[in-house]
Symmetry: C2
Subunit: 111 residues, 2 copies
DNA sequence: ATAGTATACCTCGTATATCTACCTATACTC
DNA sequence: GAGTATAGGTAGATATACGAGGTATACTAT
């Protein structure tokens, strides 16, 4: 089978999580599902990456968490983007674009 | 001044070095200069990142090294891409493109 | 002469982040 | 009653880029 182990580039996960939470409050497990869906199964976010990242983002004040009941009737910790989290997202996206632009310059140099 | 500290995404450095050596044999210090030039000063590769990376790539058989004299009349360790190094570069570029494509899908999702 | 800068190589310790593997618990289906 | 999906979590290993430090040579300016 097309067993492809895809590793995230270290440094992109925070941006992706912030972006997903920018779409509205969502719990951790849901974030992993959304990222997988939208990336057409390219990213398969591991729980050992997800939860530490969420705690990190909350500690930095970029996300805030609230326990609520999900649609399936279970407890879930819903994360939403704070105001400084939104700023952080914006700056990370800008940095990402300049960075991929610079990489593209190098990859495009003719042999 | 526009003092911007730019960190590489962890995982991209090997690809960039391999790409530069694909342009022809070049010594370590020259690789750092080329990367900085081509990226229009966006990347400023640190020597503490550069030399360990070169040794790593040589250990894996992707680069081979040879001492020669530079144009400025000094000793330099010239690196060139091996056959499996070229394959590795190709696969890393493919992965990079699929990865940035997947990130783009997520960043593009409307709020 | 000598002081400073650019070139050229290197190592060590630290910080950070992701992964693998493991654990708990509940709801639903077979 | 067993298995799967959902929901949360932690601990340890690994990788890698960075900062700070070191050596040495060639060239330039004073």
């Amino acid at each position: 089978m097309g067993e492809e182990r895809v590793e995230l580039l270290k440094g992109t996960l925070d941006m992706l999580i912030l972006k997903i939470t920018a779409l509205g409050p969502i719990h951790g497990y849901g974030i992993a599902q959304r990222i997988q869906q939208i990336s057409r199964d390219f990213f398969q976010l591991q729980q050992g990456s997800l939860y530490p990242a969420l705690h990190r983002l909350e500690d930095r004040g970029w996300l805030k968490a609230e326990w609520k009941v999900t649609e399936t009737g279970r407890e879930g910790k819903f994360y939403s983007l704070t105001r400084i989290g939104r700023k952080q997202l914006q700056s990370e996206v800008e940095n990402w674009e300049r960075l991929t632009g610079a990489v593209a310059l190098i990859l495009q140099t003719a042999e």
